[in-house]
Amino acid sequence: MNSVAADDLRNSYISRIGGRPLSGFTKPLARLIDQFERLPGIGPRTAQRLALHLLNQPEEQIHQFADALLAARTQVGQCQTCFHLSADPECEICRNPERRNGVICVVADSRDLLALERTREFQGRYHVLGGLISPMDGVGPELLHVTELVQRITNEEISEVILALTPSVEGDTTSLYLGRLLKPFCSVSRIAYGLPMGSELEYADEVTLSRALEGRRPV
């Protein structure tokens, strides 16, 4: 299909938007839109935009895209030490000898790890639990990488563990549980909760402010 035809199709479709009129679409296109719509954060409008955009790309580009998808799915697994996403048996952070400084930061999943990594402040290594303790969802410590964490602490000469978990009931439960479990082996701390930088005190919500008051420290 040439790009003029695709533009026409897009315009005619967008003018009819409202419900989900996937009729009027040739089958392969409808299938592609449907696949995009299954992704998190993508609604019908964005799904169409992406699908129609791809139709305008050179075929080579599409091949690269498809290859990247498949390669990521088949090659990316978990680091056998810290359980961060990794294509190798051990991830880059765990392989880096400079980061072997006796400090482990415990996070719930790889997204949290990436957020902490962006700060460039933390020089130690990580441990990804794979979730938080929540009996309601049937998640107990045995389903998380807790045993492996204890093993690492005894094997790797760890002096400090930093717990960086969300301050929800489940996050706090996991922090308290791990705190008691690990105290005999090393020092355990928890990240502070409080005001985001660059925000004004007067605009902070009450819950954040009261948490920040609780976590106050001497000047």
């Binding site: 009996p135 107990g140 706090d172 549980y177 009450e206």
Partner: protein, 344 residues
């Protein structure tokens, strides 16, 4: 608002309540609030100083709150411009019914005093649910279970302490107001007392730390019983607010008339405290309740609220309302309420 049953009077009051407080006293599920076979419902109101409030309920997906057309990140921010307090026939259960109803009454007041309270209550409820699920899990070892219970105890002790302290403080402020209404409404024959009976033993001096430690201890001690009975025996979810008239429980010994006056007194105390705190009188929603009061009590209610508060009143008949009410009111009949029905 005068009209036959089923015309939608209570619906309208419920919509106002929902927009003002984000909750309905009749129903906790949004799906039941949306008209059958339609995907969504929209409540829109324009209040005093020109604020436009909107709440959209959807059968699928959550709610959306807008203020002056702007989508709000936190729905809680919708609360404020439209404060309202409802009176309904269900309120009679406040004296006669389960302790949970009295806790809800007190919680509404605390929530107005301190917005953080909503977070405390949400945490407590979540902790209780997680805790009871933990007992049902069969595959974990006893040592593991108790290690997790320790983690719940620490959090519950802190949250419980804060809830107990806030409820107690609010009750202290409500008591004198309720007492003066009681004297007013009953002609001063029987003294009213509001007793806070916390669901935890609050040992030691009245401060956060000793109470927290005491509650943590009690939570640990009750575990065997908790396992046997399937529910946690200590905490604010077991609070009771005892209402005493002349020293005896109004729940059991009060006459129907006494109970009715007492309910009215408690609600008026809530109203007065909220007015004091917000500086602005909240709107009153009187759902089918005025006609149930005798003329003397109606008159007292009118004197108490009529001058300063806007009231939305629903009833099936205009008869039974004292002259004072009718003179000051704008009366809407079935035709105005439901123009689509074309009632003769």
């Amino acid at each position: 608002m005068i009209g036959p049953n089923g015309i939608g009077k209570s619906n309208l009051l419920e919509a106002v309540e929902l927009l003002g407080s984000l909750r309905s006293h009749r129903c906790s599920n949004d799906r039941d609030l949306i008209q059958w076979d339609t995907p969504q419902a929209l409540i829109r109101a324009e209040v005093g100083d020109g604020d436009r409030l909107e709440l959209e309920l959807r059968r699928q997906g959550g709610r959306q709150a807008r203020r002056n057309g702007k989508l709000l990140d936190r729905q809680l921010d919708l609360i404020g411009p439209l404060r309202c307090i409802g009176f309904s026939a269900l309120d009679l259960d406040l004296v006669r019914g389960e302790p949970a109803l009295r806790r809800q009454w007190l919680d509404r007041v605390v929530l107005q005093l301190e917005p953080v309270y909503a977070d405390l209550m949400a945490r407590l409820n979540r902790l209780l649910r997680q805790r009871s699920q933990l007992w049902r899990q069969r595959q974990i070892s006893s040592a593991e279970r108790h290690a997790l219970l320790d983690a719940f105890d620490v959090q519950m002790a802190l949250v419980s302490t804060r809830i107990h302290r806030r409820r107690q403080r609010a009750l202290h402020r409500l008591e004198p107001i309720a007492q003066s209404w009681q004297t007013h409404l009953s002609g001063g024959t029987e003294a009213l007392e509001l007793h806070y009976k916390p669901g935890s033993r609050l040992d030691g001096e009245d401060a956060e730390e000793p109470w927290r430690l005491a509650i943590e201890e009690q939570l640990r001690e009750q575990r065997e019983e908790e396992e046997r009975l399937g529910s946690c025996r200590v905490g604010p979810h077991r609070d009771e607010i005892a209402l005493l008239l002349g020293g005896s429980p109004a729940r059991r010994f009060g006459s129907a008339g006494q109970q009715r006056s007492l309910v009215l007194g408690l609600k008026l105390a809530e109203l007065e405290l909220v007015t004091q705190l917000c500086g602005e009188p909240p709107m009153l929603l009187l759902d089918d309740v005025l006609a149930e009061l005798d003329p003397t009590r109606q008159q007292l209610l009118l004197e108490a609220v009529g001058e300063s508060h806007q009231c939305l009143v629903s009833a099936t008949h205009l008869e039974g309302f004292g002259g004072g009410w009718q003179q000051q009111a704008q009366i809407l009949g079935a035709r105005e309420l439901r123009p689509d029905l074309q009632i003769g």
